[in-house]
């Protein structure tokens, strides 16, 4: 896409409502096909690009929308209601953008951020690596920097939507001599980016994220390496942002399921006025749980916003435990809620050919606990709780 055909940037205040409109008009109608074909949701991402929405989190002075995380979260809830695969792609993109906005301080990266806003680049991420057992906080591959140029080769078991992304943020050891935990993150982009696909993506849910494996080879300007250690970027930005924005997507899935269940119960009530539908009480129950989910996401967003860029607060144990708890809670609640809604709608939700079908919701929802496995997150929390103070 060239700069000339990019429409005016959608600014803060309009971001959530424009994302919601695209969710209804574009993502929803395409969702079943995206799911069935396990294909990238091109039309949804193109629609977001056309309104400048991939730069929603980029500050206005860099040509972006200057939106708050809270606003993007609301947009993702709306998108998650209609097409969770699209919403996950957009969430993952915004997480990467936020890392550049908050930590890409040098001139090369600041110029890139402007370019990203102008051309509406889509960013992907390569944090996991073959051989590290799923631990994103250690790398085997290492950067080689010579004469102001970097080179890296990574065996990535997953890079979601890599073929449709304009650049990939990649973690690697700082140097060939660095320990596995001394990581940096580097922006890899054409023409110095080469991706060799390994395997296919044929999964139960989130099928449109196209999360295949790749061997990634990249070279580029050494200025494309973010200055701060990945450990700090992860703690302060990538991990909390991921848990907040993923939770927003999953809240969208749960919210749509509750909407369908409510409509189902209401249609039953209309059929026999005066008789309480059998599932009405269960609907009341699931609505209580859904409200807990809504409030948890909102309060977590507020906690993150209140911490601002205060490094000590963001890296405190209590904050980390809380952000991990958010991910575990929301990935559990989304499955609980969808299952309850299936009990409410009965076979109409189990069938794939009714307006109350919840098959895709359920398949997407169960992936939430697996992408960064909840057991790993709980193990991290168990470790942190050994030293957490109750103050």
């Amino acid at each position: 896409m060239t700069a000339s055909n990019v429409k005016p940037m959608t600014r803060a205040g309009e971001v959530a409502s424009r994302m919601a409109a695209i969710a209804d008009e574009v993502a929803g109608p395409a969702a079943d096909d995206v799911d069935a074909a396990a294909r990238f949701p091109t039309e949804t991402i193109d629609a977001l690009k056309a309104e400048g929405l991939l730069a929603a989190l980029v500050p206005i002075e860099f040509g972006g929308g200057g939106a708050s995380l809270e606003e993007v979260s609301r947009g993702l809830v709306a998108l998650g209601r209609r097409c969770a695969s699209s919403a996950m792609v957009v969430a993952m993109h915004h997480i990467q953008v936020a890392c550049l906005v908050r930590h890409g301080r040098n001139e090369v990266l600041q110029a890139y951020l402007q370019e990203l806003a102008e051309h509406q680049y889509l960013l992907a991420s390569a944090t996991t690596e073959v051989g590290t057992g799923g631990d994103v906080r250690s790398s085997i591959c290492a950067l080689e920097v010579t004469d102001g140029r970097f080179r890296v080769e990574k065996q990535a078991p997953v890079i979601s939507y890599a073929d449709d992304a304009d650049a990939v943020l990649v973690t690697a050891r700082r140097t060939a001599d660095s320990p596995e935990s001394d990581q940096v993150i580097v922006l890899c982009r054409p023409p110095g980016l080469e991706l060799e696909q390994v395997g296919e993506w044929n999964a139960l849910g989130f099928r449109g994220t196209c999360s295949t494996g790749f061997i990634l080879r990249a070279t580029g300007d050494a200025g494309e390496v973010l200055d701060e250690p990945y450990a700090d970027i992860s703690t302060r930005t990538m991990l909390p942002m991921a848990h907040l924005l993923w939770s927003s997507v999953w809240l969208g899935i749960a919210s749509d399921a509750v909407d369908l269940a409510r409509r189902f119960v209401q249609s039953e009530a209309r059929r026999k006025p005066g008789t309480m539908p059998p599932a009405a009480l269960r609907l009341a129950d699931v609505t209580v749980v859904h409200q807990q989910f809504v409030d948890m996401v909102q309060s977590s967003l507020a906690r993150y916003a209140a911490a601002g860029t205060d490094a000590d607060r963001l890296s405190s144990i209590g904050f980390g435990v809380g952000m991990n708890a958010l991910k575990v809670s929301s990935s559990t609640l989304v499955v609980d809620i969808v299952r309850e809604c299936m009990l409410i709608c009965g076979l109409a939700s189990y069938r794939l050919d009714t307006p109350y079908s919840l098959g895709r919701h359920l398949r997407d929802a169960v992936g939430a606990a697996l992408m960064v496995n909840n057991d790993r997150i709980m193990a991290n929390n168990a470790q942190m709780l050994l030293v957490l103070r109750g103050e």
């Binding site: 660095s178 935990s181 001394d182 942190m384 103070r389």
Partner: protein, 81 residues
């Protein structure tokens, strides 16, 4: 043992560093030397045991454990040394 000797012993036993503890200077970045956040938790627990105190909530942050000098400052602050 002096405070520094105890800190170095704790790091040798629990820091899981990629380099020998003897090679570390006062300001060497321990995380750069391979200490993971998991290892730093064990270092902290072992320090609390060795010096018989508890770090306060506000000291439970990465910067408290980033170097031998930073750890010494934290230990002395908490033990009133």
């Amino acid at each position: 043992m002096t405070v520094d000797e105890t800190i170095r012993q704790v790091l040798a036993e629990h820091g899981r560093l990629a380099v020998p503890v003897d090679s570390l200077g006062d300001d060497t970045d321990l995380f750069g030397a391979g200490m993971t956040s998991h290892a730093s938790v064990n270092v902290m627990l072992a320090l609390e045991d060795a010096f018989d105190f508890e770090f306060s909530e506000k000291m439970l942050k990465k910067s408290t454990f980033e170097s031998i000098g930073a750890i010494r400052t934290g230990v002395l602050e908490m033990t009133g040394g």
